[in-house]
């Protein structure tokens, strides 16, 4: 019976602590976002990076086109050609 008392006490204290800590974490997170929004500059994608990113994308496209071209050509015995390919 004494153990049961310990169990009930632990359940109440434990659940309350977990809820309180996570509520604090949630509100801390909200506060942190407000402070960061006010203090830190907005995240921006650097144009240099964007240009750099588009270059490999074009290269990948060319490679993909070449693979598609070769596959279609092989499947159709050289009769078929790929006019254009679009990423869906």
């Amino acid at each position: 019976m004494e153990n049961l008392g310990i169990g009930i006490q632990l359940m109440i204290v434990g659940m309350l602590t977990v809820f309180c800590i996570l509520l604090i974490v949630i509100n801390l997170g909200k506060l942190l976002i407000k402070v960061v929004n006010a203090v830190a500059p907005e995240e921006q994608v650097a144009p240099k990076k964007a240009a750099a990113a588009s270059a490999p994308a074009a290269a990948i496209d060319a490679t993909t086109m070449a693979i598609l071209e070769q596959t279609v050509s092989q499947l159709t015995g050289g009769k078929g050609h790929v006019a254009s390919a679009k990423k869906i």
């Binding site: 049961l4 169990g7 204290v13 976002i33 960061v36 995240e43």
Partner: protein
Amino acid sequence: MQEILEKLWDMTALSSIGAQPTFLIMYLLAFVLLYLGIVKKYEPLLLVPIAFGVLIANFPGGGMGVIQADPNGMVLVNGVEKNIYEMPLHEIAHDLGLMNYLYYALIKSGLLPPIIFMGVGALTDFGPMLRNLKLSIFGAAAQMGIFTVLLVALLAGFTPQEAGSLGIIGGADGPTAIFTTIQLAPHLLGPIAIAAYSYMALVPVIIPLVVKLLCTKKELKINMKEQDKLYPNKTEIKNLRVAKIVFPIAVTTIVAIFVPTAVSLVGMLMFGNLIKEIGADTNRLFDAASNGIMNAATIFLGLCVGATMTAEAFLNVQTLGIVAGGFCAFALSIASGIFMVKIWNLIAKKKINPLIGATGLSAVPMASRVCNEISTKYDPKNHVLNYCMASNISGVIGSAVAAGVLISFLK
């Protein structure tokens, strides 16, 4: 000649296995666990080392089984009673073998679970949680299973320390379960670790089962993105990178102030995450934490936990109780999260898919993936993964805090 043959027979493990056939049950258990890990791919990174540890620990004469000290720390070494905590490590290695050296140096000292938490932190993205902070509260509700099973275990005759260790299985977090058990009931480490990791591996089976029992189709079709459009979040994160760097520091500070016993777990989790989020400047540390150190820690943890499961320590009624109780703790944690969402939906305008409550227990990210699969089964466009991750990650913090409370009160 006969004498030589007898000596040869005694040299092999066969004579001892013949005298004590319970070893065969342990081999069978090891083979089943190896099968689940290798063939069924259930948590292979953990089940394989644990299963192999079980196997090598149960060959008589091999000296690879972990010897558990009594509550006073006494063990029998070559017929002499010694206090293992007063024995230097090289003496443990010499007298009790390699596995006992590893166990007492790495596990019993409480070293490896926080190290693994550091690796988990390095592999975790707190972005989904920061974007959906409100959903984190379901990570608290899902800890109910821990305390309910603790209560039931006390009624079943377990000591408070044993009941606490049994209940923590409901946190669905292997390192937390091991860390708590080492502190409270080290003699139960083997069965509790096996139960915790087995149920974590069975998340794809247990979550759908509980969800099917407790949720309606209508509830499971609640589309979180549509709810977001109807009731958009008021705060937008303008610089997520900075927020992600400050968040682990802030959480560690708060947890350290309120529940210092949970700091070894939460602190290391957040440290791992911090070195990940800082980026290029700490990339080498991140790489070490998430690869080399994490992998080495996982190997030693798995092998040592497996080696605690010797036939005499494992084959008893208490182990069956732990296996059954662990399942209840796990299922109850999932159910509590679901019920919390149901209550929330009664009050709030913005409805929440109950699957987000079901992921309030840890088991990151498998629980979220499983719940996403369930939701897309009912509506192929309803992807809840990011929302589930919010409660899933907060569940890790929640279970570590619950462990901290148990250790503070019961140690």
